[in-house]
Symmetry: C2
Subunit: 339 residues, 2 copies
Amino acid sequence: MRIAIDAMGGDNAPDEIVSGALEATELLEKNDELILVGPKDIVEPRVPSKFRKKGVTIVDAPEVIGMDEAPIESLRNKRNSSIAVMAKMAKEGQADAVISAGNTGACVVAFQMRMRNLAGVNRPGIAVVFPTFEGPVTICDVGANIACKPINLYQYGVMAKMYSKHVLGIENPRVGIMSIGQEEGKGDEIVKKARELMKSDVNLNFIGNIEGRDIFKGVCDVVVCDGFVGNVILKLTEGVVDGLFQAIKHELGEEKLLLVMKFKPVMMRIYKKYDYHEYGGAPLLGLNGTALICHGASESRTIKNAIMTAKAFHTKKINDKITEYLLSTSVRTSNEQGS
Amino acid sequence: MRIAIDAMGGDNAPDEIVSGALEATELLEKNDELILVGPKDIVEPRVPSKFRKKGVTIVDAPEVIGMDEAPIESLRNKRNSSIAVMAKMAKEGQADAVISAGNTGACVVAFQMRMRNLAGVNRPGIAVVFPTFEGPVTICDVGANIACKPINLYQYGVMAKMYSKHVLGIENPRVGIMSIGQEEGKGDEIVKKARELMKSDVNLNFIGNIEGRDIFKGVCDVVVCDGFVGNVILKLTEGVVDGLFQAIKHELGEEKLLLVMKFKPVMMRIYKKYDYHEYGGAPLLGLNGTALICHGASESRTIKNAIMTAKAFHTKKINDKITEYLLSTSVRTSNEQGS
């Protein structure tokens, strides 16, 4: 399998990205290949020659799209950027998977434009896995589509379910839709219509509305929402966790040093459980290919984990499973007006 | 000042509600009156006669609206419910403020219908104060209006700013709008239009887009969002905090008992800071009156704090300040099409 990695993506690029890729070589199989995409003069000096034998190659992409650049404009102006080049490689069959911690908007636009949608999928969505105390919860969409139609939300449920089942190994994932109350009547019109679609699919294991507080309570394995709400959820959770750990540190600072020392390992264990670096990238579900988008603050281990996730996604043929499901369900055809 | 309290509202009614009201009598002024609204046969035995001299009275409202009942239907069928009776009392000038920890939807509908909107306000919004490490952050709306127009969001900014300034004592509150990126172009059409309105108001101290993670970072004092997003934020934050404290407890359980004992006061201090019981109820801003909605899990101290918040809201004439601001700004008149 050939996995292309954006060497220039994210706040810690290129060093952490290249390191992560090199570390991942230990975990790869014989025929796997890692393709670092970025300006050759920057990437090449960072790859010791012994890694060439371990399947690491470099593809030159002299331009870089900044984290805050406007997606469509930057792609138009920088056709030789790492993101644009990777998307083209995926389209032309030179890469089986693409991974970037760069500009999320630019990734979504470029990958969608080049790789196209999977058969049966109207709009791709980004899925993020939240490690919770009750097990991993997959949330889709977290930012690819902020103007969702009911059919998009239904398909996010299906796609995230396939991911949860076949990549995370959850037997029959329970799917919930994010709303503002558990009762049927709660939510806006789009959510209400999406719920009807989900309810009509007996294979989905749909549990109905969930609320913000339910994500961490183990009531479902998949959470469906539009990209605006999902993005707020993703960033807010990060903010609350960070804020709380800072508060604990501050409060501990007022205690005896011994207590602080003793509590540190406890905090480290918890922090690791809630840490997005462990997620290993968020799949852009619904593309005709494998694409993972990583956190802008990705470190080497984030990239290493993302590479392993890409391998699992590809090997377990998640896209085939999504297509099979969507082609066999009656929801798509009987509700085409909702697309 | 006469404050009506829904004796039957919330999961812990009537005991915690009545206790909270009785405790609050210690903090009231001479002419203050607390009116407990609920079924007389349930409320009366819970109020020792000495409190009658302290300004506690009871108004009979034999019916109760359950937490999960459909708002409009339940109000239609239960005209003698505590929520319906309180709303009528506010309308007819028998109460200067109303407080309920009951069915939020029923409260919003009843209070809005009876008390009407404040001059210059198109739609009321619920504001919740998040105690953060960097100071209190007021978020509006958290559930009154899930189909916001740009002018509604602008007015939420103004109203929450007045609350933050005059009730919380923040000099010139900075107002941010919740979106999915800090750049101008991010967000859906409603958010983009609302941002233009806010930008055009030089007195608002508008700082632009904020993201979910910014709420706890001290970048602004007021966060504007629609009721759907705000409700998710409110409940998600609760869920993350609870989940994290459970995780800490679990991890500590594996440590020595001595460490657990020593860490307990640290946790209690932090928990108190992030605890919604300290908020003292969320004002329904934009009503021609004072109405506070409390968390369904309210305890006696939540109610006591809400009573003190109602007093501050009324005494500091927040509604006059909102009306003054909205009548003097050019945004309302020049963008009437957005209403």
